[in-house]
Structures are given as structure tokens and as C-alpha cells.
Amino acid sequence: MNRQFEKTAEMVLFLPALLSVILTLAIFVFMLVFGLPLMKGGRFFELITGSWSPGHGMYGIQPMIMGTMAIASLSVFFAFPLSMGCASLISVLAPRGFSTFLRHTVRLMTGVPTVIYGFVGIFLLVPIIRELFQNGSGFCILSASLMLALLISPTMILVFMESFDRVPKSYLDAADALGGTPVQKLVYVIIPQARQGIWMGVILSMGRSLGDTLIALMLAGNAIATPGSVLDSVRTLTAHIALVIASDYESLEFKSVFACGLILYGFNALIIVMLRYVESKGTQ
């Protein structure tokens, strides 16, 4: 009887663990099934390369894909040097007390809701960009990606720090014994050793910025056009989803939103694959 009970307990615990897998698959299936009318009969290609003009029956989401990529890559580009500097300062160069303080601050910053960044962006950053470039409304790729850089940098810093901390102490001692300065230690020992972690940080935060909704929605201007410069206004896939949700659940416009969801899901899967790849390369 006891053995029976143990078996049941294991089973009862296994099912919730399986639920996560089921949910992941369910999300995928929902996006696929709801978006299917737009993708049937080889129209998937049309969907991801065409432009958006629902009045003419065109539901292409190519401009949004471009917008998403532009904003996400630019934000990673801005966040990378910032995070590298912060992580180096915190885990190698700063004195202990100050470093602990910074660590806690960074950890706390990961909790700031993205709507706050968007809100502050509207009233603080956008006017500055507008004044500075005298070009358009200030709601543009640049504003969104600067704010997004601020949002993703805590994530990046944390991953970088963890990988810096994992460098074996004997390596650091060796560098010290050779008379290396802290900066030399960082540049020649720690950063090359932490390469894997650095890649993971970049990929992870890329995922975060691809998936963020509120900052792009509030700051990028939401114009449906393929971007030509960083001062252009664009709409991301996530913002598109938030804007198009209509009351009419049967319209093709509503279905196209699920196609956007599917593309975002695909981006996430790609991120996971890349993370796994980097991880496996590191352990060999």
C-alpha cells in the first residue's frame, strides 16, 4: 500500500510538470489554428513579405517584422557596452561594499515594469529626441531602442556578472602573480574566459527586447512602414498585436494578429535554440 502511495505521489507531481510543456505546445497550436486562414494555400510567404492594408485585403506583416528587428538589434547595440562596463565594474573593479550595493540595485531594476519605462519615455525622452534632431515627432526607432536598452541592461548585466564570477580563481591568481593590473586581468583573462556567458547574455536580452510590447507601443510611433532611418516611426509585431485586437473576433484583421504571435513564438524558439547551442559549445 505504501509503495502504491509513493507511485501515486510521483505521478501527481509529474502531471503539473508536464503542464508547462502542454502550455507551450498549446500556445503554439492556438497561434497556428487562429492564424491559419491567412496562411493557407502557400499564403504564408505573402504574409511575411507583403504590406499591411486591410482595406485592400492585404494583411502582410513585413513592415512590423522589420520594425521589430530594427528596434531589438539597436537596443542590444546600445545596451551591450553599457552592460559590459557595469558588469566589469561590479564584479572585478569596484571595492566590495560598493559592488554589493550595485548588485542589489541591478537586481531590483529587473523588476521595474516596462510600462513605467514607456511612460517616462513619452514625457522625458521623446521631447529631447524631437528637439535634438528637429525631425518628426520624436516617436521613433531611436527613442524606443534607447528606452529598451535601459530595460534589458539589468538582465544583460546579471548574466555577464554571473559568467565573470565563474572564472576560476586560480586564473585570476595567475594574472595577479604575473603583475597584471586589474584592467589587464579583465581584458586578457576574464572576458575571454567568460565569452560563453557574454553570448548568452546578448541572446537572452535580444529575446527580451524582441518580446517587449509597451515600450515600442508607446515610443515607436506605430506607423506602418518599412523603416529607412533610426528617426522613422515604426510598429513592432508586439505593438501591432496590442493595437489591432478588435471586438470583431471573426475578422481577418484579428486573425492576422495570431500570425504575428506565431512569428514572435518562432523568434523565441530561435533564441532558445541559439542559447542551447552556445551552452553546448561551452561544455565540450
Binding site: L82, G179, N268
Partner: protein, 325 residues
């Protein structure tokens, strides 16, 4: 650059390399020449050192200053809006005055609802993964599923919630649908922190219990779980703060621009929520200028709520870690 820190390192660098180099004048011996070369390298090294320090400091400063500006900006503009009325009254005069009480209630309902739904599932998953699962294909699938779920963009959760909970299960835009959507989103967070909490319980606890003849389940239930409970609860609180701050998943599943009355009357009511309120007032409201103080006030309340919960959980966790050591 005259703060304590680089000087400390520069001094250390000098003492660890060579003695001070004498200034070379007149007829240079071979020894002198090598020493000037050494001095030059050292000089270059010193410059490099300062440049790098400057860059690292600069990077940290940009982040720090940005954070400071955000907080200062919010406090300066919004502090005057916060009053007892603001916190305890519903909005009045078509949103241009009054308070945000229903938003606070709505956010708490959604967040706590999400935790109630996600906690049992998340903790059970964590226990299975840490205590029962054996390496193999099944475990790999489970891990892949969880990490995939953790990375799915929040707006996609919103879409899923809309399609599944609101339309197919006919819950409509309601607390129930919103909370369940948020629960799917916080599930990976709770699984992760549960696993971490279980890992921090020393194996000697398990061995001692098993040696006394307890079964595996008895060991987990009576020994491991109580020891891990504070860590698990901290994770739940962190999950709550995450759920409370999310906007995108509740936009079409639980939150509305305006809900009448102070309290929702049932789980199938839609509610107002702080993050959504900020978004709507700042972008789609009819009188953006008139509601400016309300927006700042709402932002302060949200950030205080989320960071307050976070800070509490983090302090509690670091205390617990010390006690376990």
C-alpha cells in the same frame, strides 16, 4: 578620477611590478635604457588603466543616472498628486480627477489570483524536477518546455489567454481570465525559484530522514519542503510582483479602461489595473494634458508597489541564506 578606487589599484600595480624608476639624465647606460623603456610601458599601462576605468565608470554612471532621472522625474511630477483621496477614491469627472482605488484593487486581484493558480502547479513541478526526475529524454523535454514558456513574449500570452480563456472557455474579459493568463506567465518563475529553494536544502537532511526509515514522499513532505518553504514563498512573492507589473497580457484578458464602482463584484467582472491605467491615460485618453498629474501619481504607486514587494522579498531571501549557512 580622484576617488579612492583607481588610486588603490594603481598603487598596488606599482608595488607589485618594479621599484620606482629613477629619472634618466645625460649618458645612458644599457641599464638606464631598459629602465626608461620599462617606465614608458608602465606609463602607457597607467594611461590604459585610467581610460578603461573611465569607460567602465561611464557605463555604470549612464545606467545609474538614467535610473536616478526616471525616479526623480516621477517623484517631482507625481508626488503632489498622491493623497489619501487619490489612493482611496475611484476616478471622477471622466477620469480627470479623483483617485485610482479600483486600479489598485484590480491589480491586487489579478496578481494574487495569478499566484493562487500558479503556486500549486509551479511548486509541484519544481518538486518533481528536483526530487524525482531522472536524467533522460523526458527530463530534457520538460526542461525545454519550461524554458520555452519562460521566453514567450508576454503579449503572446495575452493572445493565448484571449483565445483560450476569454473566447473558447467563454470567460470573457474578466478577473478570472486575466489571472489565469498571468498565471501561465509566472509559472516558469515559480518553478525556477522552487527548484532553487529545494537545491539549497542540504542532502544530509534527505539522507538523515531516509535513514530513519521514512519513505521518499514522507521525506519531501516532512523534511525537505518545510526547510525550503521560505525560499518557495519568496519566489511566489517575486512572481506576484512580476504579475502585478505586466500590462500586455491583461490588456485584452482582464483589464478595462473603466469599471464602475470601487470593488469588483465577482470573478467574472473586468477590472481596472494600474499598468493598463497608465498606458491608457498616457496614450489614448481624451484629455492627456488634464490627467498628467494622475498619470504620474499612478506610475509612482505602481513602481512603489512592485519595487516594494521585490525589495521585501529580496531582503527576506538574503536573510534566509545567511541563516542556512
Amino acid at each position: 578620477m580622484e576617488t579612492t578606487n583607481p588610486e588603490y589599484f594603481e598603487n598596488k600595480a606599482e608595488t607589485t611590478t618594479d621599484r620606482a624608476v629613477p629619472k634618466v639624465k645625460g649618458n645612458e647606460t644599457e641599464k638606464d635604457i631598459t629602465e626608461t623603456a620599462a617606465a614608458r610601458t608602465r606609463g602607457r599601462r597607467k594611461i590604459m588603466q585610467s581610460i578603461f576605468f573611465f569607460l567602465f565608470r561611464g557605463a555604470a554612471a549612464v545606467n545609474g543616472i538614467a535610473l536616478f532621472i526616471i525616479i526623480f522625474f516621477l517623484l517631482k511630477n507625481g508626488l503632489s498628486a498622491i493623497s489619501w483621496t487619490f489612493l482611496t477614491q475611484p476616478p471622477m469627472d471622466s477620469m480627470t480627477s479623483g483617485g485610482i482605488f479600483p486600479c489598485i484593487v484590480g491589480t491586487l486581484c489579478l496578481g494574487i489570483g495569478a499566484i493562487i493558480a500558479a503556486l500549486p502547479v509551479g511548486v509541484a513541478s519544481g518538486i518533481y524536477l528536483n526530487e524525482y526526475a531522472r536524467p533522460g529524454l523526458m527530463l530534457r523535454i520538460l526542461r525545454l518546455g519550461i524554458s520555452n514558456l519562460a521566453g514567450v513574449p508576454s503579449v503572446v500570452f495575452g493572445l493565448f489567454g484571449l483565445a483560450f480563456f476569454c473566447i473558447i472557455l467563454k470567460m470573457g474579459v474578466s478577473i478570472l481570465a486575466g489571472a489565469l493568463t498571468l498565471a501561465t506567465l509566472t509559472l516558469p518563475v515559480i518553478i525556477g525559484s522552487t527548484e532553487e529553494a529545494l537545491k539549497s536544502v542540504p542532502d544530509t537532511y534527505r539522507e538523515a530522514s531516509l535513514a530513519l526509515g521514512a519513505t521518499k514522499w514522507q521525506t519531501i513532505y516532512r523534511v525537505v519542503l518545510p526547510a525550503a518553504m521560505p525560499g518557495i514563498l519568496t519566489g511566489a512573492i517575486l512572481g506576484l510582483s512580476r504579475a502585478a507589473g505586466e500590462t500586455a497580457p491583461i490588456m485584452f484578458t482582464g483589464a478595462v479602461f473603466f469599471a464602475p464602482g470601487k470593488w469588483p463584484s465577482s470573478l467574472l467582472d473586468s477590472v481596472m489595473a494600474l499598468p493598463y491605467h497608465i498606458y491608457v491615460l498616457a496614450t489614448a485618453g481624451t484629455e492627456i494634458e488634464k490627467t498628467r498629474p494622475l498619470q504620474y501619481g499612478t506610475a509612482i504607486v505602481l513602481i512603489a508597489l512592485v519595487l516594494g514587494i521585490n525589495l521585501g522579498a529580496l531582503i527576506w531571501r538574503s536573510r534566509l541564506r545567511k541563516r542556512l549557512k
